[in-house]
Symmetry: C2
Subunit: 337 residues, 2 copies
Amino acid sequence: MLNKKVPTIKEIAKKLNISVSTVSRALHDHPSIGLSTRERVKNLAAELGYEPNQTAIFFKQGRTHTIGVVLPFLIEDFFAGAISGIEEIAKAQKYNVLIGQSNDDIEREKDIITAMKNQRVDGIIVSMSKHTKNLDHFKALEKYGIPVVFFDRVPSSSDFNKVAFDMPQGTYEAISFLMEKGHRRIGIINGPKEMKSSKERTDTYMSVMQKKRLKIDLQLVAYCDLTPDGTATALESLMSLKQPPTAILAVHDYVVLDAIQYLKTKKIRNNKDIFFVSYANLPITKYLENPPMASIEQYPTRQGAKAAEILLSLIDNGDQPPQNILIEGTLVVHKKS
Amino acid sequence: MLNKKVPTIKEIAKKLNISVSTVSRALHDHPSIGLSTRERVKNLAAELGYEPNQTAIFFKQGRTHTIGVVLPFLIEDFFAGAISGIEEIAKAQKYNVLIGQSNDDIEREKDIITAMKNQRVDGIIVSMSKHTKNLDHFKALEKYGIPVVFFDRVPSSSDFNKVAFDMPQGTYEAISFLMEKGHRRIGIINGPKEMKSSKERTDTYMSVMQKKRLKIDLQLVAYCDLTPDGTATALESLMSLKQPPTAILAVHDYVVLDAIQYLKTKKIRNNKDIFFVSYANLPITKYLENPPMASIEQYPTRQGAKAAEILLSLIDNGDQPPQNILIEGTLVVHKKS
DNA sequence: CTGTTAGCGCATTCAT
DNA sequence: ATGAATGCGCTAACAG
């Protein structure tokens, strides 16, 4: 549907028998415009319901006051929270937020980036697709002067601005907590192996175990694809060890929920035979009769907000040395366990 | 950050000693351009990394290939799901999605609408703020030829396009289910009184009760503000009746979860002393030891997708008589109860 | 098959 | 204090 006829400064100028530049200046309270003229212009503008055509302004200014956000799945709690944080910061500075979800598909991610580039968004915030290794499509944005800030799923290279969860800190807290509760044989159910965060989690786990002088046993490290079945398989591999773990650190609350369901079929009892700590701190766990011991809050909204702040400062102040921000987690302990 | 220098068709034209219109046409595979010219243009464009400037195209065409989405809270499961559906449909037709959250604040809602109007989005999808009564800011979009489709929180007037949950159908199913299970005294904990959906739910409840020839008792109707405390108060008012209900229909799964928590403190047992059915069908309930009886799936993604489909057809085909779509819910029964 | 030109709405520079 | 003129990048009408 084509836009109907809509007032422009040209029309206002004609009706008032003055020039468009005078109208433009009057509307912007330019000091060199006489009071009476300004009044007349503003009154007529209001009467006609004039609103500036932003597409013209964007085009002319070469900037769009819009930031793009690219992430895998809008529907995941974490990302929804992150967007909420981004939107909050953006709105406060009169920026618009354009969203694209990659569905963890590299091609889609590239397409979204290209579209955003062509639309001349002023900057982009990205949480990468699970499979993204090649970063060329992000580097291409440099040429267009479009700054990029990554969050959560960030590249390894220190050449990029990024905001992410402080995995070592959070994991340290989690393992310390388990040790305080007397656990020495601590297993881990990690996310998909191809994800950088999984490797990071394993590395951290190992270094913390070492620092705590706990015995490291590679058999205690399992990976899963985050599905109930994958969780069951991973769990099975841990629990069928000659010396199974007494506690497990899991990549996500949902994995623990699935794990507990599975264990019920095996008559293994949560918080008795085995204990869980995980990441996410979903609000729902507080409604469980027998919740996992604790979960690590990762502050998605805060991560999004921080990414947006960095991006906006990049937009306003131009290039700066890349920042690498870590957001600390908080271990939230459930009930008495 | 200002955009760095970026190739334009003008440059390509100059380097090739041809006119910009030829370049433009060659890039669009216009039939009247010779093969060799087209090749030369495309090769150079690729070499320079040329990408069309969409802001210029938007400006010139008077349309932006962008749809705006205005909703209260991005972070709520329902709305996150809806956006996901919208985004899916939009992407398939090469439309961008611009998001704004109103935080249930009318002024913010108006500001967002104005901004989107000025940006000349091609259409807008809205779930209204809780307090919005006056619809002038939506009507103002007509003048700009910007179609609007409401979803979930929709106006009463039939002048607007809208997609919403089929409250009568869903509520009928829920109450029928409770009756099949033998309940005759069925209470209801509704959402905030000022919300249209609350009134709708009550009305439906009453008419279903009537149709089923159950006794209607206004004392069985309570309202809550969706907080745990509000839920407790509403519940208290029902349970302290001389004849308390044996089953309760609640506005949302979260309300039931809060209700169950509260009842524990009173030694009232879920699925024994009282039974619950609610709306939302949150995935989490399947992890509960003792879940509420059933929940009504409202298909947020489907609602969003449907709204987007209608909007896009409005954009493509121009004005049409307003549609009023109801999305049927599905009663999902939990375990054996 | 290709070139020339106008114009979308606006901010802005240069004149006056 | 105001006007005239320019140009952002692109498409399309018109001209050859």
